[in-house]
């Protein structure tokens, strides 16, 4: 649908040529950045040629920080200030973090999201994640020797609204324009689907360092449709390490007390686990304050220690098949994603369950980033005619609290996004003039068992008898899976709306402050960045309008066309200026002024699509 844009001879170069778009896999244990170069998706290496960036950030007493390999190397000696697996804390409160007493951090309870006290001050998981993202952005910009246009960032399919919002906030903090958040299994399916030219129903089993996802996708002629998805946002390779560590300590009769010991035994367990993927037995060994730990483990022992974890993943797989109203026999192929699927017992358990050998021909560490890069390439308008369409779903139901602490579900899980749904509610008491609206996410009946996303109030309802007011609450979920809620009393027209920002919600001032405090990306002035973003947006809008006029200008009357051209001239006139607010205002005016035209073009596009394809039948 997007028209190819050709610049005038001698005019400004086509902005397409400088649209560097990347895919970022922000993982629990490691992160990657990939891009499509010469029509092939590839992971971008660092200066030493390594594509994997360990998701580790170490804060230093003298200021500054180490990121990635350098941080990970110090994790055992400085565990308190070396944050690993920060993804598990994104959008999570202190109470949500399972096994936090086994972790070496000094957690600080904060409204909405837990924080961590380090030698460099209190850090939120959003800030820590932003450090990792900023490092990847830097790597991409160094690779292309150009500014980044935008990125597709992957999140576990099972991430809820708070976790998605936190991820988006981290990207903003790192100065990255998020083209789209997409689910990790979906990204993997893109990479696999395009690689193998597959059609049919595919299951993507994604066991990462800290999260587990299972998605069922239907692939039809370049359309990737997520049929159902499920998972556990706190189950991953880390849990296998922890189970093994706990077992070994019990065997040896030793205890861990210090943060150093806690980290050391987890690191040793992880190394042992990795060895057991190829060897029949291994020895888990590390020095502890309470003595020397050294325990021999066979692969069979490891299998039995962790079988409950494997069973947990298969229970989720069964539920997703039930949700999709499909049978495991209908699945054409199973794609394995995530480093943890290297464990042989995972591959055999999944293969046994589905009755077929899972696909493992792409590197499970890289496949998610590669898929994200392909989608980023398409969203930046670089893919030309290679149409690829992603139809994703929300993994968790969205609802409201009603009387008695019960949840009224508004949007059920596995609804295709974008989506919107409205429901009418009424007042409980005579003369009630306000209504408290509490938005929750989850599958349980009781509000207390679901995740609280936001609260807001609709005020100014005219006093009426109980049950007479009609309050329509509308939920809208965008293509990133993020929610907006609005409420309106239909009789009086009183309205209230909220963008569901989790309660930790980073304000613009917070971001400015973090940038000022010497954040990794803060070399450039905030204002310069805003100005550049505004100018890019203005150029994009002008170009899009110009090509829309030349393609479908016949839809407009002479006056309508003149109005649009006047708005274009006004935007053109301020574009070279330095006032980004003024540019934004003119661009917004142009957007508003062309909305009716955009709607007409959409009508025409749909008419053409349906009439054109009715004959050949899709």
């Amino acid at each position: 649908m997007a028209l190819l844009q050709i610049s005038e001879p001698g005019g400004a170069p086509d902005p397409h040529q400088r649209r560097i778009a990347v895919g970022i896999d922000l993982g629990t244990t490691h992160s990657l950045v990939a891009a499509v170069r010469h029509s092939v998706a590839e992971c971008l290496p660092d200066e030493q040629g390594r594509v994997i960036l360990p998701s580790a950030v170490r804060y230093l007493a003298e200021g500054g920080r180490q990121i990635g390999h350098a941080a990970l190397a110090e994790a055992a000696i400085d565990p308190r200030n070396t944050i690993v697996s920060v993804k598990r804390f994104m959008g999570r409160g202190l109470a949500d973090i399972a096994g936090r007493d086994k972790l070496p951090y000094d957690f600080v309870a904060a409204p909405g999201m837990v924080q961590i006290n380090t030698v460099a001050g209190v850090k939120s998981p959003v800030e820590v994640s932003a450090e990792i993202l900023a490092a990847l952005r830097q790597r991409a910009e160094d690779s292309f020797d150009d500014d980044l246009f935008g990125a597709v960032i992957t999140v576990p399919a099972y991430f809820d609204d708070a976790q998605r919002q936190a991820t988006k906030d981290a990207a903003q903090l790192a100065g990255i324009n998020v083209l789209r958040l997409i689910s990790e299994p979906t990204a993997a399916a893109i990479a696999y689907g395009l690689e193998n030219g597959s059609e049919g129903l595919y299951a993507v089993y994604d066991l990462g360092g800290g999260t587990f996802d299972i998605s069922l996708l239907r692939l039809t002629q370049g359309v990737f449709e997520v049929v159902a998805t499920g998972g556990d946002s706190s189950l991953g390779g880390d849990d296998f390490d922890a189970s093994l560590a706990e077992w070994a300590l019990l065997e040896a009769g030793l205890d861990v007390a210090t943060p150093q010991d806690k980290r050391a035994v987890l690191v040793a367990a992880r190394a042992t686990k990795e060895k057991l993927s190829s060897a029949d037995h291994a020895t888990l060994a590390c020095p502890l304050a309470s003595g020397e730990l050294s325990v021999r483990v066979t692969r069979d022992q490891f299998v039995s220690i962790t079988q409950a974890l494997v069973a947990r993943t298969l229970a989720v797989v069964k539920r997703v098949l039930r949700d999709a109203k499909t049978d495991k026999a209908d699945v054409n192929g199973i794609v394995m994603v995530g480093g943890s699927t290297r464990m042989p017992m995972i591959q055999s358990a999944v293969g046994e369950f589905f009755g077929q050998t899972p696909l493992t021909n792409l590197n499970p560490d890289e496949v998610v980033a590669l898929g994200a890069a392909i989608q980023a390439h398409a969203l930046a308008g670089n893919a030309g005619g290679d149409e690829l369409l992603l139809l994703d779903v929300i993994a968790l139901s969205l609802g409201l609290e009603t009387m008695g602490g019960l949840v009224e579900r508004i949007i059920p899980r596995n609804s295709t996004i974008p989506t919107a749904r409205a429901q009418d509610f009424t007042t409980f008491k005579d003369g009630q003039i306000a209504m408290a609206i509490h938005v929750v996410q989850g599958e349980r009946e009781l509000v207390s068992d679901c995740r609280s996303l936001a609260r807001f109030e609709l005020r100014g309802i005219p006093p009426m008898v109980a049950g007479a007011a009609r309050i329509r609450v509308s939920f809208q979920v965008d293509a990133d899976g993020l929610l907006n809620v609005s409420a309106r009393e239909e009789g009086s027209g009183v309205e209230a709306a909220i963008s569901v920002k989790p309660s930790y919600g980073l304000q613009d001032e917070d971001i400015a402050r973090m940038l000022k405090e010497g954040f990794a990306t803060a070399e450039e002035d905030m204002r310069a960045r805003s100005l550049r973003e505004s100018v890019v947006e203005a150029e994009r809008m002008l170009l899009a309008t110009r090509s829309a006029l030349s393609a479908d200008g016949d839809l407009l009357s002479v006056e309508e066309r003149a109005d649009i051209e006047r708005l274009m001239l006004e935007a053109e006139a301020v574009r070279a200026g330095t006032d980004h607010h003024l540019i934004d205002a003119k661009v917004e005016a142009l957007a508003k002024g062309t909305e009716a035209f955009a709607a007409e073009r959409m009508n025409r596009g749909i008419r053409q699509a349906l009439s054109g394809r009715r004959v050949e039948e899709v």
């Binding site: 649908m1 359309v223 969203l379 974008p418 062309t594 899709v618």
Partner: protein, 172 residues
Amino acid sequence: MKLDSDDFELFGIPRLHTLDRAALDARWRVLQGEVHPDRFAVEGAAAQRVAMQWAVRVNEAYQRLKDPLKRAAYLCELAGARIDAENNTAMPTTFLMQQMEWREALDDADSSEQVQALADEVASHRRDALKRLQSTLDDAHDPAAAAQQVRALMFVERFASDLDQRLEALGQ
């Protein structure tokens, strides 16, 4: 084809309860291919907003059309027969008796086999009732009678989802 076209017009399919599901799915993918916001990622904010509205509208229609009960309710409403389930709860005695029997059977069931057997019975009842409903709409063209059948099926549907939840709870 407008944003306010009815669901059947939007998908270009006959206004009937009888449905070619494969054709509906294919049409949905074609429509999303035209209207999805990702198709307009490099165009301006105006195109994005319009695309969002359209994509939401197409998904809404698809959800309604692919679900046999929702599709029936929608056909009734289009034909002027209100469903109005909240205010219209009068049901025949035999139907209410059966509902009570089912509820009691669920209360008494304590194994997932027993719940599953009940679920199978309810599913079979639902299939038959949907067949009758389709005939009321497409053959008898009697929307008022169909609306009554829709209301009855809404009870069955609710009970079926209670059964699902119970099964899920027993499975864990």
